[in-house]
Symmetry: C2
Subunit: 336 residues, 2 copies
């Protein structure tokens, strides 16, 4: 069986998920739907694009499309919604009308779907569900790292300071150019969002936006349930899925240096699907642990979207098998 | 016959040339030489890198290398010097001692080699020479665009204002963070550098550095030798080699949007080998012509380096054939 997938919304996430779907031998991309024939469409579906010849359906009418969203919805098994935050509410009734299972993104309200999703933490819960919401990039990185420690030692408490990239690299309209912008509503919403997947974790988060486009950087301090050594914490991270360790002392001194690594290994787009932990920043003091990680906001949720398609469709019941397949097709490894 | 190539210096240019050499069926990469086992080496020669297993030779001693630069120089036909500006002078006597032909970069003094090189403008002049200096990224883009108009209409005069990216994307040490820095020595050195390849062009340039890492942007006004229309100028650019046209009205509104295009088409590293002209910025008024183009400082000279290897070695006497081969292996096309 092959899952028929439609991607609705061709922005930062949608275009990546669409391409990733074409790499899966158990999925077929029926096409993408979008409001306009924007430069993403022109570049990726043009003569030199990786989605050349793919069908494109309109969500708002207009010329140059292969049909409307409704034309294709009846043929799809799963739709991945990549619409801007808030807009997905408009499409939900349409997905339900056609009985298509839906993968929403982290910008959506948590009540849009029966569950919030992270492949490592709760794949099995999505089996048989009608919809799932893949949590946001920041939340995904927190869940992966915290879950790794929680499985190994148990986690008592987490405080995370999020230093956020301001906009995606291709966004040439929004700022700030030269200011740090505190999210003064504290704690930030990221802690509660982690709790949609890991409800038992006592977590507080704060967030500041800075003028960089590359990646978010989280500085985290937490308490685990027993005394640990730095080496044990590093080992727990090393064994975890979709976490990569880099040492500043090896020259990986910043988000810029990390992104250069992914260009150096010829990863398509330079995408970093892994949560990247600076191994030198990991430290244990009794039960207290410190670490810093980088989050590629454009890319980290892509593998979880692919796994969510498998879980909702039921084509793969085993989380480990789905994750392994996704990792292989996207070139995700734990050691660089 | 296969040209045996060594790359000495594994920075922004060296690592790209080394990888590009491995794509050529008439070249063999003997290895690379470098001062240290830096993060470029770790990423590209590591378990997941595109140069996994490649030999690395030391220029300054140290452990972990497969030998010294001199060990491998005697086996090489051509060395591509990717050393920092000024350092190549130190290596020149060594290349000459071993009778190895040398490709230098644009940061070197123009007298380091018998000629400055651009594949479109003077490939044939490099045949049989001992060394050539591939001109810098800014100069390469000026030569490509000016040469396209000069071949078609004749060029009387050029004034170019260069708005320069401050540092390469992976450089997390240098600034400026929030200042525009004028190069107050006017005219800038770029005009005379164009003259090393196109001596008959009357050109003046000025340069300002701004806090961006993506690409340079040149705003150019010139006079051609006869009255022309905007359409004729666009057509001359469209037919030229390694020039790509993009329209701001299609959404390619900035250097950021252009770089996103190259990620969207899955170009390795997102490298833009082409000089990218905004077609909407091209305008003719009688003999006067305007255009703006973007220059990916990390990548634009890579195809010219590959062609320089062929010209110096003499393995291909025909510029058109070498250029076509290089373009094909790197995925360079004129129309996106």
């Amino acid at each position: 069986m092959v899952v028929k997938v439609l991607v609705n919304g061709f922005g930062t996430i949608g275009k990546r998920v669409a391409w990733a779907v074409t790499l899966q031998d158990d999925m077929e991309l029926l096409g993408i739907a979008n409001r306009s024939l924007n430069s993403n469409v022109k570049s990726m579906m043009g003569a030199n694009g990786p989605l050349k010849g793919m069908k494109i359906f309109s969500t708002a009418g207009g010329a140059g499309f292969d049909g409307t969203l409704e034309d294709v919805l009846s043929k799809a098994d799963v739709v991945v919604d990549g619409m801007p935050s808030g807009i997905e509410e408009k499409f939900k009734p349409l997905y339900e009308k056609y009985g298509v299972k839906a993968v929403y993104q982290g910008g959506a309200d948590e009540n849009i779907a029966p569950l919030s999703f992270n492949a490592d933490a709760n794949y099995a819960k999505a089996l048989g569900q009608k919809a799932a919401r893949v949590v946001s990039c920041n939340t995904t990185s927190l869940i992966r790292t915290i879950h790794a420690l929680d499985k190994t030692f148990g986690v008592d408490e987490i405080f995370a300071s999020l230093v956020r990239r301001a906009v995606d690299p291709a966004d040439d309209k929004k700022g700030p150019v030269n200011a740090a912008v505190p999210e003064t509503e504290v704690p930030s919403h990221h802690g509660p969002d982690v709790n949609t997947v890991l409800p038992h974790i006592n977590i507080s988060t704060v967030a500041v936006k800075v003028p960089t486009t590359l990646a978010h950087l989280h500085a985290v301090v937490g308490k685990v349930k027993r005394d640990v050594t730095t080496e044990q914490v590093v080992e727990a991270f090393r064994k975890a899925n979709r976490i990569a360790l880099f040492a500043a002392k090896d020259g990986y001194t910043s988000t810029a240096a990390l992104m250069e690594h992914y260009r150096d290994i010829n990863r398509p787009r330079g995408d970093m699907y892994e949560a990247a932990i600076w191994s030198d920043s990991v430290k244990a003091e009794g039960r207290k642990v410190y670490w810093m990680h980088a989050v590629h906001s454009e890319a980290i949720v892509i593998p979880d979207n692919i796994d969510a398609i498998r879980a909702l469709s039921g084509i793969e019941k085993d989380a480990t098998k789905s994750i392994a397949k996704t990792n292989k097709t996207l070139g995700i490894v734990n050691d660089f």
